[in-house]
Symmetry: C2
């Protein structure tokens, strides 16, 4: 046996998740996490860059999976379809962890700080995706646009998959349909503004006017 209990990082991750769930992210201090894991605060910061990062350590493998899927996609394929294939693969890999994904998303949704981190992880996913496309010969701008709008579809699909109560379709199916709808929307094939729903006076999230 070693000098210390093994798997310090894992214990920290587990403790953090538990506490984030029990008391919320903001209310949980790093010292508490470390104590529950039988370690010190200093050690926590040796394993995770900051308090938020615990929730995002899985992003790296997701990115790897995504890029690999693009690389493995059959060659004569339009950029957007290569993106589609890759996103479907990722969706399938996430399928069995729906409960965890839902729980995790609830925590993120309750914290602006975590939302920021989530967005930058998705952006990083998008960059990697774009880079993978470029290596297939897709042009600079086209690669960026295909990747970023693909990520948009991914997000939209994710929310559906997790949000809708009676949702029976798999994430993969939903993902497929989101991409289809993306294509429809960007090609102008959208119910073009026929019967606006009662056009309320609108007290929306628009910022206050200054003039």
């Amino acid at each position: 046996m070693g000098r210390w209990e093994p798997n310090a990082r894992g214990r920290l991750e587990k403790a953090a998740m538990e506490l984030y769930g029990e008391h919320g992210f903001h209310q949980t201090t790093v010292t508490e996490i470390a104590e529950r894991a039988g370690l010190t605060e200093r050690t926590f910061f040796r394993h995770f860059a900051d308090k938020k990062e615990v929730l995002f350590s899985g992003a790296a493998s997701l990115q790897e999976l995504l890029v690999q899927a693009v690389d493995d996609a059959p060659e004569p394929l339009a950029a957007i379809d290569a993106v589609g294939v890759a996103l479907e693969a990722v969706a399938e890999a996430m399928q069995e962890r729906r409960d965890f994904a839902k729980w995790r998303q609830a925590i993120i949704a309750a914290n602006p700080d975590l939302q920021e981190r989530e967005l930058i992880k998705l952006a990083s996913l998008g960059s990697a995706l774009a880079a993978a496309l470029r290596e297939r010969g897709v042009g600079e701008t086209a690669a960026s646009l295909a990747a970023e709008s693909g990520i948009a579809a991914f997000r939209v699909g994710f929310e559906r998959w997790i949000g809708e109560a009676g949702e029976t379709r798999t994430y993969r199916q939903i993902m497929k349909e989101s991409l289809k709808e993306l294509k429809a929307v960007t090609s102008g094939r959208t119910p073009p503004t026929r019967t606006p729903p009662a056009r309320t006076p609108r007290g929306r999230e628009r910022p206050h006017a200054h003039r």
Copy 2:
């Protein structure tokens, strides 16, 4: 004359911008900013939620402009084209501040914290855009997708407008072309992977494999 110098917020903003430029964002302390503005740290936090927010106070008016442009767009118009019209209007409004935009973007690019904030502001822009579309009668998902992919085009266009050295086109023109390219990409009209550029062994930004 009042008890205090007028326009405290403006002075804080100016001092912060200067210091971020002189010493970098991270190296600048809030105390320094407040001192240069002839105020105290406590007052800084009464005007700005945090140190980052100083750089993003303009986002609100941008959002207002965007939403207004969607509202003012002619009625029988596909969702993606309403987005296009609105984004062009915003691009035009930014045209005269290119130097400032460039300078500001350089600071943001040098700081992950600021990039996170930038992303959440863009996401908020996207939500507002989607909401405006829904009020025109565009469906839930379609609105989200049109808005988010529109924002993607906005970002891509922005980087071009600011990045390319010999760029003579206006932001509006670039924006228009980005949207056009978005449509091309999502409709599958993309040079579909013909001659991959020398397929290097790739030591990219892909995370390390574990197996």
